[in-house]
Amino acid sequence: MMVFFFMLMSILTSLVIMPQLSHIFDRQHIRDSIGTLQLEAELLRRFVKDKQQHLESLAASPIVINSALLASADDPDLLDLLNNYIINTEKAHLLLQDIAGGVIYKTDDKIKGDFSADSNWFEALITQKTSYNFKLLPQEGDELRFILSVPVLYQGSTEGILSAYISTPIDNVFSPQLITNDSAFKLKQNNIIAKTRSDHIQMPKEVSTIMVEKNLELIYVSDATYIEKERDRINGVILSVIFMGFLVSFFIFLLFNIYSFKNEEATTHKTNLLNYMVPICVCLFGVTASISASSLLNSILNNQKYQDVLAENNVQILSVVRSIEQHIEVLNSLRSFWDASDFVSRNDFQNFIAPMLIKHENIEAAIWVPHTTRNERPELEEKARRDGITNYQILERNQDGLEVTAKDRDRYAPVFFAAPKSLSEKLLGFDLLMSPQSKEAMIQAEKLGTSIASAPIEFGTPDEKRAAIVIFNPVFKTTDEGESVLEGHVGVILLIDQIVDTVKRTYFHSTSIFILDITQENDPITIYGGMNLKNMRQDLALVETVNIAGRQWEFIAYPNSDFHTNINNSLPWIILFLGCLFSAAITFTLVQLIRRNQANEQLKEIITLKLSDSENKMQAIVDSTVDGIITINKNGIVESYNAACSKIFGYNYDEVVGRNIIMLMPEPYKSEHDKYLKNYQRTGTKKIIGTGREVEGRRKDGSTFPLELAVAEVKIHGRILYAGVLRDISERKEAEARILEANEQLKLLQESVENIDSMIAIAEAGDIDDDMKIIYASGGIEKMSGYAPHELLGKSPFILQCEETDKKIISKIRNCLIQEVEFKGELLNQHKDGSTFWAHMSIYPIKDAQGKVKYFTFVQRDITESRAVIQEIIRSNVELERFAYLASHDLQEPLRMVTNFTSLLSKKYEDQLDETAQEYIKFAYDGAKRMQELVNDLLEYARVGPDAESYEEVEFLQLLKLTEDNLQEAINESGAKIIYKPEDCPVVLTNPVRLIRVLQNLIGNAIKYRKEGAAPEINIRIEDQQDFWEFTFQDNGIGMKQKYENKIFEPFKRLHKNNAYSGTGMGLAICRKIIEGFGGRMWMKSELDKGSTFFFTIPKQGSKKG
């Protein structure tokens, strides 16, 4: 077990810790590589930028611009300028092209000017998408070659392209300090590569960055063999540590066992101690591993730090040197400006140098020092005064250090121009030949014709003296004789500490630099910094000797005191502490587990015995109960199933145990059970557990039944079980359903009863006078009788009857009750307040299930008002009939008198009356006749009404024939045809006289309202409409507009004047009233000039077809 444990730890270490450490190592290496790469990329960018600016200044020359615009190289000044231009201390190889790519001028054939293979860069320059182009050329030996192209701009527009071919040793481009024995640099553009020496690299590993604008890739190549060696070393150390830990633990274990074996009394102790060997070994191993890992990590981190410091030293020196060189370039530009100008005024000098001083803020001052002889001195001083320097004179310092007018001597080198203006006051006029350092530098510069720096000199105010150097560059002029003589020196004053501080501030925080001027070997001069040799670690310092403008400077870069603070890594201590803590925790946990395990074993035995007894008892109880008991596990699998369940579900034990409980459930319980179970286990939300509810079960035969289920959660030996107790409640449910239904019906009935206006009372059957009491009275009784329902409870049903009530009716009621039959009738009741009211009473016996009458229901409705109305109607009709009779009789007499006497008058006095009189008499006669007709019709209309007692069954065919006979004269006269099918004519139950009146009116109208010249044709059809007969009379007369369909049935309504067609306008009104009196209805359809169709119906009421 222990061996296995150690092997496991070893494997884990191999699989986890070692790869992690390896990964850390790799990552750090990559980070270092990227850092180096980025630094070198920045240096490269500056290098290219420097060359670009150089070329741009040439492209900005008016001569070049002019040539580009004219696409001409005819200007000799152009040739002179381009052929003599210097880049990189040698004559430049230049090409000037126009905007179409044509070659305007080239200094030589280094650049072909053919960009047909790739015209994108040319187009990009012309359209100013890019400010320059860099094209890498194939490497020749150690020379890095490339072509740099910039646009020639005029008024912001590209008018040509100027290109320069540049070749430089590749080591000048890349920092030698960054190129070590196991690294190199490569530049790659498209398929062209230039690289530093890299054949010493055995296993190249590359990290690259893209200088995006120009598709240029800078690659840092490191030797992976170095990394592999380091990795192997680390892995070996780790494995050694593990192995050592294992060995140590093993030997401890072995020794302990040997000691225990010798001592018999320690057998039990041995057993116990044996049990604790595992945690002891784990602890030992853990501590050993923690110590090893901590020390290893510390070593790695320290080593890395040292590497970083070394690299930083390298770069710091390089950056300072480069910065100084850039400042010296300014001096070169100033020299070039002088060379290019025939005359430089004070303003010219200020205007030229001012922008550069702004850009290079570490240049303290720029000066012009003309070579002046004794004779030239007055003119020089006068010239300065004319320029506005009113107090200008050549000065020098005396022995006391004060500035005084320079003594008379052969030569002077006074500061004549100085910028910035703020310093010019201090500098102007001072004779630099009086400064030994300056004098030496100027002489050397004149001799070599190049920039030469002075030894450090003190600069600044007495309170703030700082070390400065002055760099001089000689300016020569050509005499009329063609000789080149010294005109003077241009110079820049640099405060080195300012330059170094700027570099340090930007980049370097952990290292310091110390600069010495060692040009004089025996007399080194400190230029910058101070170094405490005692505290400096020699192995971490870097010393470089560099030539700065003719002076030998020694740069010493070393880590500062911050390094030692930073080098104190806290991470290894943390690892150690955590490792030991972790080991202790594991050890403690193991010990606790072992102890608990032992105790658990003992407890287990005891509990096992008790459980066995308990189980047997429980089983007996479970098997004998009438309720079903089922247990399931957390997955819903049935683990126990008692005998009662078998009876309830129909499944036996073996069919259920071991299967999912859902087999006993119908849908939707079946589908949702598992979800409920899982939900409870996850959330603890109880739906049924711990409570009881009604659910449905499914028997073996597939039927479902309601069951009551209670579920409890049980934990046994850490296992969760769910115990359910269930009972079949099918019978109970049925009974409940029945009761519920009955209650609902009763409730519905009660609501209905309470809301109707009638009185409903229920009384128990029994002796009328003794036992029959009201047990229920509806709410409507109070409105009708004045008694509240509760006042009638227990009273006799005859409580509302009074003295005025018809005794016959009461007797009839009593007989019905005795006979236990229904009663319906009207009787007079008495209100609680003593008033009487008529009621319609209905009594119904209510029988029980055996058919015995248990109750009587009394339903009474107040008919007092309706009865009064009926009485009034009867009275009114009687009066109306009498009025109609009297009216017809009384009116007829005077009318007859009028008609008779007017007729007589007409006949008797015919000879004596003129036409007018005759006409008047005719009018009177006709009017009286019409009045008679109206009265008759009115009378008839008034009399028409429902008169069911005069109905008899008659054949409709017979009535038709009678009607034809009555209208024979009109039929013959008009030639009318009456068409019908005798077999269709039914036998109708009706008043024949009145029906004949209708037929006569319809046929008569059809004849009367016929079309001129056309014989009337009347089609009669009869249809059986189940409950009634429908009669149709269709004619071919003049018809009318359908909109009059109702108007024509109104009394006295006519559509034509009396002189057109005779009539009173009552005919159809009477017909409709007759038909409605039969219980039918009448209507019409018509179309003008087409004819009319009249319809009416007569209820069958027992009539049959003939």
């Binding site: 611009i65 002019n66 004219l70 696409a71 001409s72 200007d75 905007i99 005029y154 008024q155 005359f343």
Partner: protein, 405 residues
């Protein structure tokens, strides 16, 4: 039915065909650094064509303006666009002579009908062939130099003039002309200084100091507006005790010289320059000129209300006259739709114009004839030295013809 469809198609196609009858008038000029002079020329061209409703011989006239920014190569690229356009009839130039001089052979060999309303370089119109495609209505350096020199020597009483010329073919052209004219005044080997475009103030001051120190009292200046302004500003900065007189070619009127050397500064210098003799600021205006200016105001009502508002006026005046001459030639020759035939026909019509053309500078009777390198070198020059006058800037930056004030 078929015939009806055919007729309908014809009717529908008519507008299309009608739209196909287009001729284009190009301009290749500096629309960036000397924009005002180019726009002035454009106004002249468009106003003249607007008089005939921008339509001639059944063709609608369109205008297309290309920018060479003073670059000879770019001008040639623009010419290639003109030559390859089947509807391009003629091309006007701008203020700069170098592109026309440098590309003269190419223009003539490509038979690009070129009209020059401003550029004054003498070689421009003197392609040594009877088939000469460049016609100028403008100053001609060959004949302008005497006018400048006469004015300097007679009017300004120069005793020791110094030539200050831009280092371009235009400068070369004037160096020859002016030097030759000075000989008549006994000045042989006249001193000259050349400068390039993009000359800075410092260089300018150096040059001027040298001129002053050498005792010259007049500068005969051949520069465009940008370099001209730098030179004049440098002169003002030097603040020499004796004012040196500047007699200039007209290049300084082509841009915004008058803004860079404003009226206040101009009070401190004696500056005059050559122009053609017509200006809308002349005190006497013909009815024709009044009418033209009235239409000019109407067409550019938001921009031009008074003669002073017309900047680089000489561009407008010459372009207007030259366009009217062109229109007369087109009417005489007619248009066939074959652009090569039409260009040649118009070229010949220009050389043999039958009708008189009224212009602002003068009325043109046969302004051009066939070029002959020996006997008729001025054949393609519409103006002569009688049409040239000296002028100065007025206080409102207007150009005032001297002698008319």
């Amino acid at each position: 039915m078929k015939y009806i469809c055919f007729i309908c198609l014809c009717i529908m196609a008519f507008p299309v065909m009608a739209n196909d009858k287009i001729i284009r008038i190009y301009q290749d000029a500096d629309l960036s650094n000397h924009r005002k002079s180019s726009e002035s020329i454009q106004k002249g061209i468009e106003l003249a064509f607007s008089e005939i409703g921008n339509s001639i011989s059944g063709y609608t006239v369109e205008f297309k303006y290309l920018n060479h920014r003073g670059n000879v190569v770019r001008s040639k690229m623009n010419y290639e666009k003109f030559i390859n356009d089947p509807k391009a009839l003629a091309i006007f130039s701008g203020i700069h002579s170098p592109p026309l001089i440098k590309n003269r052979d190419f223009i003539n060999k490509s038979k690009a009908l070129t009209l020059v309303p401003w550029a004054a370089g003498a070689p421009i119109s003197r392609y040594p062939s009877s088939e000469n495609w460049i016609f100028r209505l403008s100053l001609d350096d060959a004949r302008a130099a005497p006018v400048i020199v006469d004015f300097a020597m007679k009017n300004k009483k120069c005793k020791s003039p110094h030539l200050l010329l831009e280092n371009t073919p235009w400068g070369d052209s004037n160096l020859t002309g002016i030097s030759k004219s000075l000989i008549n005044y006994g000045i042989v080997n006249a001193t000259a200084t050349r400068f390039g475009w993009n000359m800075g103030e410092q260089s300018s001051r150096m040059i001027l100091r040298e001129i002053l120190e050498n005792g010259h009292d007049c500068i005969l200046l051949v520069a465009n507006s940008i370099e001209g302004a730098i030179i004049i500003q440098s002169l003002l900065d030097i603040d020499a005790e004796d004012k040196i007189k500047i007699i200039s070619h007209w290049g300084i009127t082509g841009g915004n010289f008058h803004e860079m050397i404003n009226a206040t500064k101009r009070t401190n210098i004696d500056l005059s320059f050559i122009q053609s003799c017509f200006a809308f600021t002349n005190s006497v205006q013909s009815d024709f000129a009044k009418d033209v200016f009235s239409r000019l105001k109407k067409k550019y009502r938001n921009e031009i209300n008074n003669p002073e508002d017309l900047h680089s006026a000489v561009g407008f005046i010459h372009a207007y006259d030259l366009t009217r001459v062109l229109i007369a030639a087109i009417k005489q020759a007619g248009l066939t739709g074959d652009i090569k035939i039409d260009r040649n026909a118009i070229r010949l019509a220009l050389e043999n114009l039958q009708s008189e053309v009224q212009g602002l500078v003068k009325t043109y009777k046969k302004p051009f004839t066939q070029f002959d390198a020996k006997n008729n070198v001025n054949a393609h020059e519409a103006l002569n030295s009688n049409d040239f006058c000296m002028a100065r800037f007025g206080y409102a930056d207007e150009i005032l013809i001297l002698g008319d004030e």
